[in-house]
């Protein structure tokens, strides 16, 4: 019986070239196995495990960089039918995997630094390093999968395989009650949202008899959005919104950020959001890839815009009364996810042109993401170093930091005001690109929401600056590892430079990435082909 069924369809095997294109994914998956295998050979050695994770990250990043800059392969699918691929490794996903794997290397460095600088559970960390790195690289692999698929089923699988190791990582500090609580909350929330997400996917499949987003989009274009499609789409997007920690699916975020150890908080704050937003961008873009479906998607996009506005505002308001720095930064990261979601919500509008002008929204998200990575890395880096030195991560540990360790103080202040979005720092210029994109899409109310939120956020970011500089403290100077100080200083320098000398470079880089994305995500060139271009007018 089974045999007959399988034999009826011609058997398909991927070509060697296709397998090669999945290089970044192979590389990450291989790193996981290599960490385990090395443990078999040399025993529980945290240096070996960390070194292999680092090497794997560097190797993946190199592969991705070649994928981004090579430009030879605009579109690579791995599926029985090339038009409806299960896995897509294109320049767009290469860019996001690049970000993720670079961040993986940086966070690994942070982990190592913490060992020597005096984390409380140091012995346990060394002992459990192998498991830690397996989970860590595992979550990176899941995130890499998230940005390289356009198939409903694969999306759910990817979200799951990114989430499951993250649950483990969140609760990795054994005998630390907040960590256990955070992990449990994370699991429950993740389970419920992914159940809803699967339900949405099944509704969509039931209606369109396909799991491929592109085909669903074409069908939406011809049939319009019915109530059921709407329900299906929203239910499906909830799973992604959970990863981005969009309101009202953000409740796990502050607890997990507070409970998890600080490297994990850093990791989740950037990588998880990068993957979620990359996925969101792809979903929204593919769903509106024909002119008709773009029109039909308007309402879904408006809903996303409203969600973005609420995410931003709730994130900022909730941060007001926080005294735990990790928790405060968690809310700040929710707010920033809101800013980026604003750009995602306008991706349905046909703004790009065949002449190669990229969509301003995707370009804005990419630029924002790059600077956000730097800001968060440096901000969490400072929090980590203060924690290692004082054993506290509350606001009072920061009292007088500007005098207790001037370098950390300056770096932290730079990050904070860049997070607010003050010129001439990188945070401003990327926020500006975002606002420009919103204005271009005539979502002016959203601009007002965004600038109002900037004002709100100033208040709580300035509270940290206030603690660092205005409050007198007799506590001992903060000792921090030299490498760590150097690293955060470099981040701060990059933040300043990206807002001044390299503001144009940043923009042209993100424009190029976003152009790649269009090249990559338009195997059939649907939307551009159907719009009159300057050339076709003649």
């Amino acid at each position: 019986m089974t045999h007959a069924l399988l034999a009826a369809t011609p058997l398909w095997m991927p070509s060697a070239a296709d397998l090669q294109r999945l290089g970044p994914l192979w590389s990450l998956a291989g790193t996981i196995v290599a960490v385990l295998f090395a443990a078999l050979l040399v025993g529980r050695n945290y240096r070996v495990a960390g070194a292999i994770a680092t090497l794997g990250g560097v190797f993946t990043a190199t592969l991705c960089w070649r994928g981004i800059t090579g430009g030879a392969v605009p579109f690579a699918g791995l599926a029985p039918e090339a038009a409806a691929p299960m896995l897509v490794v294109d320049q767009f996903s290469c860019f996001f995997i690049f970000l993720i794997s670079v961040f993986l290397v940086l966070v690994t460095g942070m982990w190592f630094m913490g060992l020597d600088a005096g984390v409380p559970d140091e012995a346990a960390r060394r002992r459990d390093a192998v498991e830690f790195f397996v989970l860590f690289v595992g979550s990176a692999f899941g995130m890499a999968l998230m940005v390289s698929t356009s198939n409903l089923l694969m999306i759910i699988l990817a979200v799951e395989s990114a989430s499951l190791p993250s649950y483990g990582l969140a609760g990795f500090r054994k005998k630390h009650r907040p960590a256990a609580e955070a992990s449990l909350k994370y699991i429950l929330f993740g389970a419920v949202t992914s159940a809803i997400s699967v339900y949405g996917a099944s509704l969509l499949y039931g209606q369109f008899h396909t799991l491929d987003l592109m085909k669903i989009s074409t069908a939406i274009g011809s049939q319009g959005i019915s109530v059921l499609t709407g329900v299906g789409l929203f239910a499906f997007l909830i799973g992604v919104a959970f990863k981005v920690s969009a309101v009202p699916f953000h409740f796990w975020c502050p607890d997990v950020f507070e409970g998890a150890s600080i490297e994990i908080t850093t990791w989740l704050s950037v990588a998880s959001k990068a993957a979620g937003l990359g996925l969101m961008l792809r979903i929204m873009w593919l769903l509106s890839c024909t002119v008709q479906s773009a029109d039909a998607m308007r309402w879904v996009a408006h809903a996303v815009a409203i969600m973005a506005a609420i995410t931003c505002t709730v994130g900022n308001f909730s941060a007001f009364r926080q005294t735990n720095l990790k928790r405060l930064l968690a809310f700040s990261s929710i707010a920033h996810a809101g800013y980026m979601l604003m750009a995602v919500s306008i991706i349905w509008q046909p703004r790009e042109s065949a002449a190669g002008m990229p969509h301003p929204a995707s370009s804005a998200v990419i630029a924002y993401m790059i600077v956000y990575l730097l800001m968060n890395l440096a901000a969490f880096g400072v929090v980590a170093m203060v924690y290692w030195s004082t054993g506290r991560e509350t606001m009072d540990a920061f009292n007088g930091l500007g005098w207790r360790n001037p370098l950390l103080g300056v770096v932290m202040a730079t990050c904070l005001f860049s997070l607010v979005g003050l010129p001439p720092l990188g945070g401003f210029i990327t926020k500006y690109y975002l606002l420009i994109a919103l204005y271009d899409a005539s979502l002016i109310w959203l601009i007002f929401v965004a600038v109002f939120n900037t004002l709100l956020s100033l208040y709580y970011y300035a509270r940290i600056a206030y603690a660092m500089y205005f409050v007198q403290s007799d506590e001992a100077p903060v000792r921090a590892p030299a490498m760590g100080q150097f690293a955060v200083l470099m981040c701060a320098a990059a933040i300043v430079l990206s807002g001044t000398f390299y503001a144009g470079k940043l923009k042209s880089f993100s424009d190029q990435r976003s152009r790649d994305m269009y090249g990559a995500m338009q195997p059939t060139g649907l939307r551009v082909a159907e719009r009159p271009t300057a050339d076709s007018m003649h």
Partner: protein, 147 residues
């Protein structure tokens, strides 16, 4: 459009019926059952025997490890079967495919084995250096040889 409206109605019926059934069962039970509070009724049911100790005991974590390992190999077998059926058509690529899959799982298994996660008497095994270290070395030597 009609098609999808039908679906919506179906969906609604499904949701409403689902809610009605689950809550209905509870409600009916609540209404028709006899209420005779009794100390033995409140106790946990253990095959008619008088209960010993509280019902909320912590299960040993070892059960979960065994269950997980079983699950992984169970799934593997489930994958092996269709693979074996089409093996002829698929050719040599299928062999590599399965070897990679199997290899990954074997590495994980060996890892569990080497570090004593499969030991039933792990609580002492972890701290008693002699027993674990010796086996570690033996397996490590074997692995190095195999390389």
């Amino acid at each position: 459009m009609e098609y999808s409206n039908n679906l919506v109605i179906g969906l609604l019926i499904f949701v409403v019926a689902g809610i009605a059934m689950s809550f209905g069962a509870l409600l009916i039970g609540h209404l028709i059952r006899t209420k005779l509070p009794h100390p033995e009724k409140a106790a946990a049911y253990e095959c008619g025997e008088p209960a010993i100790g509280p019902g909320w005991v912590q299960f040993d974590l070892r059960f979960y490890v065994v269950a997980l390992v079983f699950l992984i190999f169970d799934i593997e077998v489930a994958l092996f079967y269709p693979w074996a059926v089409v093996y002829k058509e698929a050719g040599i690529a299928a062999l590599w495919d399965m070897l990679v899959f199997f290899g990954v799982i074997v590495v994980g298994y060996l890892y569990l084995w080497r570090f004593g996660y499969l030991d039933w008497v792990r609580a002492t095994g972890l701290h008693d250096k002699r027993s674990t270290v010796r086996r570690d070395d033996a397996l490590g030597r074997a692995a190095r040889q195999w390389m």
